[in-house]
C-alpha cells in the first residue's frame, strides 16, 4: 500500500517542501514511512509522429521522424499501431524507465534511433499483460501539446510513500486520514474534497426498500444514480490507483475504489436492474449459498452478515459482492452502498472464507461514521463528473450508530508527568491544532474532543499525552533514573535453581543447548518413560512441530546427531527447559546427553571416555550440589528407548525423579548416554544448612579387602552391608577395583574395597580395627554369599 503525495496535495496545500524531509518528520511522529519513491521520469516528452517508413532491414520495425517540440528525432519503433499523425510519449536519451532501463542513442539494425516511443506499461503505469502489449504504444489525445514534459503534464511527477503502519493506525493507508498527519508536521490545515452533487428532481423515495434485520449493521446509506456511462477513467484516477497498487478497470469501478482510498470507507455498487428494489441486511442462514464476484460458490453460516434482495443473498457484507448483482459494461443504474458492519464479524467471515480484500481489511479495523456519510456523496460527485451519472435526490439511511463524542478533560501537569517533559500550554495546543483536535482551555484544564476519524484514540489522558508528545518530539526528553528504595534484584523461585544447576553443569564441562519446545509425533514416541498424554496444537504450522514435548531427550539426541554429522564426535550437552502435562501442569527438566571423549586424549596418554559411570557421576554431583547427598538411589529398570542392561530410574527420597542410561542402539548406534530429571522435584526438597564439622586429630587406619560375589549382587548392596557392619569407626569406603575374568567363576565378580577407620576421640588400636574388620568380612560373607578373596 502506498500513498500518492500528489493526491495528498489535493487536501493539504503545501508548497516547496522536500518530501524526503517531510517523510522523516512524519516517521519521527510515529507514522513509519519505509520508502520514499519519486515517480518523476526526466526526458519524457510528448511528440507527434510526422513520418513513418518501414525499416530497410526488418519486416516489422518502422523508422519514424518525431516532432518533439524544438526539434525532431529519428526513432525506430516496433509497435503495430505507430503511424503518421498520432501524438505519442517519447523517452529521449537520458530517460530512465522503471527497472533502471536507461534510454540511449543507438543503432537498431544499422539505423540510428534516438529514443523510444512508449507504451503505458513501459512507464510502470499499467500492468504488462497480453492485452496491453497488443494495444502497443500509448496514443495521446490529438489536442495534447507537443514537446511538453509528460510527467508534469499528466500529473505523473508524483512522489509516493510506502508505509509500514502500526496496527492501530491502518487508517493512514487512506489519503484523507494520512493528510492529517502531513498537515500536523507541516502546520497546515486539511481541506476535504468536494462532495457536492446536482441531484435530479426524481427522488429515491419509493424506489428502494431498506430493511436492516441485524444488530451487526449500525449504519447503512444507499443512493441511486442512473444513466451511467461506463468507459475508461481519466488519467489522474488511473495513475493514482496504480500508485496505490490497484488496477484500473473502468470509470465506475475505479470511482468506488478511489473513494475508498480517499476516506477508507469501502463502497459497494449494485447493478440496480439486477438487484431490484429491495435491500435487506441480515445474518445468513447455515448452508445458505452465494456465488461471489470471483465466480466461487460460498457456503454461508449464521455468523456471516449478508445483503439480500429480500430473498436471496446478493453480497457478503464488507467482504465481496455477489455475481448476481455486480456492475458490468452494460450497467445503467446503480445502487450505492456505504455502510458500517461489525468489524469482528467481518474479520471472522473474511478469515473463514479466505477472502481478505482491501474492503474487508478496512472493515476489520473499524470505520468512522462521518466518512461513511461523506464517501457516498463523494462517489455521486465523481460519478456525475466522470460517468455522466444522474444522482437521484435523497438517501436511504439506517442509522443506530452510537455517536457519543469521545471527550476527555486533563491538565498539562498530568501530560508532563507521563511524558517526563516540561511542555508549555502553547506547545500542547500546537500539537492539538496540528492534529485537528477540537479543544477548550479553562485555566489549567484542557477539554478535548477526539475526532471521530481517530478510532485509535481513547478518551484517556495517556492517549492524549501520546498524541501531544509524539508531535512535540520525544527527543526533548531528558533522561533520568527512577528513584525509590534501592535493593539488589534476585532470581525468584525456580529460576535461581535453574541458574545454579546450569552454571554447575557448565563447570563440569557440559555445553548448554537450546532446542524447540514443539516436536513431531515421531519424536514424541521416543523416551516415553513419563507416560503422559501428548499435548497437540490445534492448528500446527507443520507436523514436525505439532506437539508440545514432555521430555527433552529426543531434542538432545537430534542435536547430538546434528553435531556428529558435522564432524564433532565428542558431544557433552545439557538443556534445562519447561515441559507440560495434563494441559497446565508444569515441570522443569534437566536433560543431559554425553558421547565420545569427556577429556580429549592427551599426548601424555591421559584419557577419559564417556560411560554410564561418568554420566552417573555428573548426575550425582548435581544432586550433591543441591544438598541432597545420600538421599538418592539408582534403581535398575528397563526404560523405553534406553539400553535394557544400562538404564535406571533415579529415586530421590524414594520418589522417582528421573532416568539415566545409554540410548538404545536402535535409536542411536553410537554410545550415547543420557540422563533426565525434574529440577522442580529437586528444588522442592528441604535441605539442611551447611555446618562446620571438626576433622579428627587422631590418626586413621586404612585397610583393603576384596570379595568374590555373584554378578547378580549389586555393588551397592555390598557397600551398604560394609557400612552397616563397620559402624561408627568406619569413616570412609571406596571401591578401587572390579574384576571379572578367569580368576573368578563365570557368574562371579571380584570387588575390592578400601576402608578407612578412625576414632574421633582417641588413637585406634590394632585389635579394635581387626575386630570391626573381621565382623565386616563375616557379615558380608553370610548375608550376601560373598567370599573374601585370597583368604
Amino acid at each position: 500500500m502506498a500513498i500518492s503525495m500528489n493526491w495528498v496535495r489535493d487536501y493539504v496545500d503545501y508548497k516547496d517542501v522536500d518530501l524526503k524531509e517531510v517523510a522523516d518528520k512524519i516517521t519521527r511522529a510515529g507514522i513509519n514511512i519505509e520508502q520514499v519513491e519519486s515517480k518523476y521520469i526526466p526526458n519524457l516528452v510528448t511528440g507527434e509522429v510526422i513520418s513513418c517508413e518501414m525499416h530497410p532491414d526488418s519486416d516489422h520495425l518502422k523508422v519514424c521522424q518525431v516532432n518533439v517540440g524544438d526539434h525532431k528525432e529519428q526513432i525506430v519503433c516496433g509497435a503495430g499501431n505507430v503511424r503518421t499523425g498520432i501524438k505519442v510519449i517519447v523517452a529521449l536519451p537520458g530517460a530512465i524507465l522503471p527497472g533502471d532501463f536507461e534510454i540511449k542513442a543507438s543503432k537498431i539494425r544499422g539505423v540510428e534511433s534516438n529514443g523510444m516511443i512508449c507504451a503505458l506499461f513501459e512507464l510502470g503505469l499499467e500492468e504488462k499483460t497480453e492485452e496491453s502489449y497488443n494495444r502497443g504504444i500509448e496514443e495521446l489525445d490529438p489536442a495534447t501539446p507537443v514537446g511538453v514534459d509528460v510527467c508534469k503534464h499528466f500529473g505523473w511527477d508524483d512522489t509516493c510513500y510506502t508505509l509500514d503502519l502500526n496496527p492501530n493506525r491502518s487508517d493512514c493507508n487512506n489519503h484523507i486520514p494520512f493528510s492529517y498527519e502531513v498537515a500536523a508536521v507541516l502546520g497546515e490545515k486539511v481541506t476535504l474534497p468536494d462532495i457536492t452533487t446536482h441531484p435530479v428532481k426524481e427522488t429515491i423515495d419509493g424506489k428502494l426498500n431498506l430493511k436492516i434485520e441485524t444488530d451487526n449493521c449500525p449504519m447503512y446509506n444507499a443512493k441511486i444514480v442512473t444513466d451511467v456511462k461506463i468507459g475508461p477513467s481519466p488519467e489522474f484516477i488511473k495513475h493514482r490507483l496504480e500508485v496505490a497498487g490497484m488496477r484500473s478497470i473502468n470509470n465506475v469501478v475505479d470511482i468506488s475504489n478511489y473513494v475508498m482510498l480517499e476516506y477508507g470507507q469501502p463502497l459497494h455498487f449494485f447493478d440496480r436492474d439486477k438487484l431490484g428494489d429491495t435491500i435487506l441486511v441480515r445474518m445468513a442462514e447455515d448452508q445458505e449459498k452465494i456465488v461471489t464476484l470471483d465466480g466461487k460458490e460460498r457456503n454461508l453460516s449464521k455468523d456471516d452478515i449478508i445483503i439480500t434482495d429480500g430473498k436471496k443473498p446478493v453480497c457478503i457484507a464488507g467482504v465481496m459482492g455477489g455475481l448476481n448483482s455486480g456492475i458490468d459494461e452494460n450497467t445503467k443504474s446503480i445502487v450505492i452502498e456505504s455502510a458500517i458492519f461489525d468489524s469482528y464479524h467481518v474479520r471472522y467471515t473474511s478469515i473463514n472464507h479466505e477472502l481478505r480484500s482491501e474492503a474487508s481489511l478496512r472493515y476489520e479495523k473499524g470505520l468512522n461514521y462521518e466518512y461513511c456519510t461523506m464517501a457516498i456523496e463523494r462517489a455521486c460527485h465523481l460519478l456525475e463528473k466522470y460517468a455522466d451519472a444522474k444522482v437521484l435526490s435523497g438517501t436511504m439511511t439506517h442509522d443506530v450508530m452510537d455517536k457519543t463524542p469521545k471527550e476527555v478533560t486533563f491538565t498539562l501537569r498530568q501530560v508532563n508527568d507521563l511524558l517526563g517533559m516540561e511542555l508549555t500550554k502553547q506547545d500542547a495546543l500546537k500539537s492539538l491544532d496540528g492534529l485537528g483536535f477540537e479543544y477548550e482551555v479553562n485555566k489549567d484544564e484542557f477539554h478535548v474532543t477526539i475526532p471521530n476519524r481517530r478510532l485509535d484514540v481513547e478518551a484517556h489522558v495517556s492517549d492524549l499525552a501520546e498524541e501531544i508528545g509524539r508531535l512535540y518530539g520525544y527527543d526533548h526528553i531528558e533522561s533520568k533514573l527512577p528513584t525509590g528504595e534501592g535493593r539488589p534484584g534476585r532470581y525468584i523461585g525456580l529460576v535461581a535453581d535453574r541458574k545454579l544447576v546450569s552454571k554447575r553443569l557448565r563447570s563440569l564441562g557440559l555445553n548448554e543447548a537450546r532446542t524447540y519446545t514443539l516436536i513431531s509425533p515421531e519424536e514424541d514416541q521416543l523416551f516415553r518413560y513419563h507416560h503422559q498424554t501428548p499435548i497437540a496444537l490445534l492448528r500446527p504450522m507443520s507436523t514436525d512441530k505439532s506437539i508440545i514435548r514432555q521430555t527433552l531427550l529426543p531434542s538432545l539426541v537430534k542435536t547430538v546427531e546434528y553435531n556428529k554429522a558435522r564432524g564433532t564426535k565428542d558431544v557433552c550437552l545439557y538443556e534445562i527447559a519447561n515441559t507440560y502435562f495434563n494441559e497446565e501442569e508444569e515441570d522443569t527438566l534437566v536433560s543431559i546427553a554425553m558421547m565420545g571423549n569427556y577429556l580429549t586424549p592427551t599426548w601424555q596418554g591421559a584419557k577419559m571416555k564417556v560411560d554410564f559411570y561418568l554420566i552417573k557421576g555428573i548426575v550425582e554431583d548435581i544432586f550433591d550440589y543441591m544438598g541432597l547427598k545420600n538421599r538418592y538411589t539408582f534403581v535398575k529398570e528397563t526404560t523405553p528407548d534406553l539400553h535394557p542392561g544400562m538404564s535406571a530410574k533415579i529415586l530421590l527420597d524414594r520418589e522417582e525423579v528421573g532416568v539415566i542410561g545409554r540410548v538404545h542402539p536402535s535409536v542411536m548406534k553410537d554410545e550415547l548416554y543420557v540422563a533426565e530429571f525434574s529440577l522442580k522435584k529437586l528444588a522442592s526438597k528441604k535441605i539442611k544448612p551447611i555446618k562446620f564439622k571438626e576433622i579428627s586429630k587422631y590418626p586413621s587406619v586404612t585397610k583393603d579387602m576384596a570379595f568374590v560375589v555373584s554378578k547378580k549382587v549389586p555393588a551397592e548392596d555390598l557397600l551398604a552391608q560394609i557400612k552397616k557392619s563397620g559402624g561408627r569407626l568406619l569413616t570412609d569406603i571406596h571401591i578401587f577395583d572390579v574384576y571379572v575374568g578367569e580368576n573368578v567363576g563365570q557368574d562371579e565378580k571380584s570387588i575390592a574395597f578400601s576402608l578407612t577407620f578412625q576414632d574421633p576421640n582417641k588413637t585406634l588400636q590394632d585389635d579394635e580395627v581387626m575386630k570391626v574388620f573381621n565382623k565386616i568380612i563375616s557379615d558380608v560373607e553370610h548375608k550376601l554369599g560373598a567370599v573374601l578373596r585370597d583368604k
Binding site: 511522529a29 517526563g420 526528553i477 525509590g484 528504595e485 557448565r506 496444537l537 490445534l538 497446565e584
Partner: protein, 348 residues
C-alpha cells in the same frame, strides 16, 4: 698443643675445600670428627695435663670443633646445590608441547546474553521472574488490553491448544500481569521476565516460530518516559558500547500508552549511515512505553496512584545485532564449533 691444634685446623680447611661429593664429605667428616680421628686423639691425650692446661686445651678443641662444623655445613650446602642444579638441568621439558585442558562447557549464545542482561537488571534492583509458557488466553491477551477480536491479535498469530483458551504464549508480558496480581501489598515493582515465546511463523533465516523475549516492568509513583529513557540509556550502553546514543520513536503496543520504539545509534557506523542501519544511523532494538492504565487496573494497581513503564527486547535480534549472526536458526542448532567461540568474556 696450641700450635698442633692450629696446624690441624689449617689441614682440615684445605681438605674440606677439596671435597666434591657427599660421600667424600661424609668420609672426611668421619676421618676428622670420628672416634678414631685426630680431635678424639687430642681429647684422650688430655688426661696427662694439668688442670690449667686441660682447661686451655678443652676450650681450643671446642672452638676447633665448632669451626670445622661450620666449614663442613657450608661445603655440604654447596655440594647439594650443585648436585640439584645438575639434576634439574637433565629434567628440561619442551614447554611448547600442548597444554592439558580441563573441559568447561559454554552457555547457549542466547543464555549468555540473557545472563549478562539479568546481571545488569539485578544491579538496578530488578528481580528476575519467570512464568508459564503454556499460558491462558486470559493472561496472554485479555488482561493485556487485547480482548478477543482486537485487531492487534492478528499481528501475532498464536499457537492454541485445546479449546482456544490455552496457548503457547506469544509474548512474555503475561508474566508482568501475573506478578502484579501476585503482589498483594501493591508495593513498587521492578521485574524482568526472560523467556521463550511462540508465534505462527515459518522458520527461515530471519523468522523463528520459537523465540526469546526479555521484558521489564517498573511500577512506582511518579514514573515518566524520562525514567524509561534513562533506564534504556544504561541498557544500550552496557550491551552495545558506552558511546551509544538512544532515541524514542512513537509506536503502538496495546499494553502501553504512550508507546515507543527503542532505537540506538548504529554501532557499525556510529550513526553516519550504513547498510546495517539501512542508512538511517539508527537501529531499533526493542519496544516500550508507559503501562496502559487498563493494564495497571487489571493488575490491581490504581492508575490514579501508580504509574510505570514496561519494555521488551527480542533476545535473538539483540544477539544477531551484537555478534553479527545472520541466521536465527544458529541459536537452536547448537553447533558446538560455533558455541565454542562464545566461551570467553568480553570487554565492557
Amino acid at each position: 698443643m696450641k700450635e698442633k691444634i692450629e696446624q690441624l685446623q689449617k689441614e682440615i680447611e684445605i681438605k674440606v675445600k677439596e671435597v666434591k661429593t657427599l660421600k667424600e664429605w661424609n668420609d672426611l667428616k668421619v676421618e676428622y670428627l670420628g672416634k678414631k680421628g685426630p680431635i678424639s686423639a687430642i681429647l684422650s691425650g688430655m688426661r696427662d695435663l694439668s688442670i690449667e692446661e686441660k682447661k686451655e686445651t678443652g676450650k681450643l678443641v671446642n672452638e676447633l670443633k665448632e669451626t670445622v662444623g661450620i666449614l663442613l655445613d657450608e661445603q655440604r650446602a654447596q655440594i647439594e646445590a650443585k648436585e640439584l642444579e645438575e639434576k634439574l638441568s637433565k629434567e628440561e621439558i619442551d614447554i611448547s608441547l600442548p597444554a592439558t585442558k580441563i573441559p568447561v562447557g559454554t552457555p547457549n549464545i542466547l543464555e549468555k546474553l540473557i545472563e549478562e542482561s539479568e546481571e545488569l537488571f539485578m544491579s538496578m534492583g530488578y528481580d528476575v521472574v519467570e512464568g508459564p509458557e503454556l499460558e491462558k488466553d486470559y493472561y496472554n491477551f485479555e488482561l493485556l488490553n487485547l480482548p478477543k477480536g482486537h485487531p492487534a491479535r492478528d499481528a501475532q498469530d498464536t499457537f492454541y491448544t485445546k479449546g482456544e483458551e490455552l496457548l503457547l504464549r506469544s509474548q512474555t508480558s503475561p508474566v508482568q500481569v501475573r506478578t502484579m496480581l501476585a503482589n498483594e501489598e501493591k508495593e513498587p515493582l521492578r521485574i524482568v521476565c526472560p523467556g521463550k515465546t511462540y508465534r505462527r511463523d515459518d522458520d527461515d533465516a530471519t523468522h523463528s516460530h520459537q523465540f526469546t523475549q526479555m521484558e521489564g516492568l517498573l511500577i512506582d509513583k511518579n514514573i515518566s518516559l524520562a525514567d524509561l529513557k534513562g533506564t534504556f540509556d544504561i541498557i544500550a550502553k552496557k550491551l552495545f558500547g558506552i558511546e551509544r546514543e538512544t532515541r524514542f520513536r512513537p509506536s503502538f503496543y496495546p499494553f502501553t500508552e504512550p508507546s515507543v520504539e527503542l532505537d540506538i545509534s548504529c554501532f557499525n557506523c556510529g550513526g553516519k549511515g550504513c547498510p546495517l542501519c539501512k542508512h538511517t544511523g539508527w537501529i531499533t532494538v526493542g519496544g516500550a512505553g508507559m503501562v496502559h492504565p487498563r493494564v495497571l487496573e487489571n493488575g490491581g494497581y490504581d492508575p490514579k496512584e501508580w504509574t510505570g513503564f514496561a519494555f521488551g527486547f527480542g533476545m535473538e535480534r539483540l544477539a544477531m545485532l551484537k555478534y553479527g549472526i545472520t541466521d536465527i536458526r544458529t541459536f537452536y542448532t547448537n553447533d558446538l564449533r560455533v558455541t565454542d567461540t562464545f566461551n570467553r568474556t568480553e570487554a565492557e
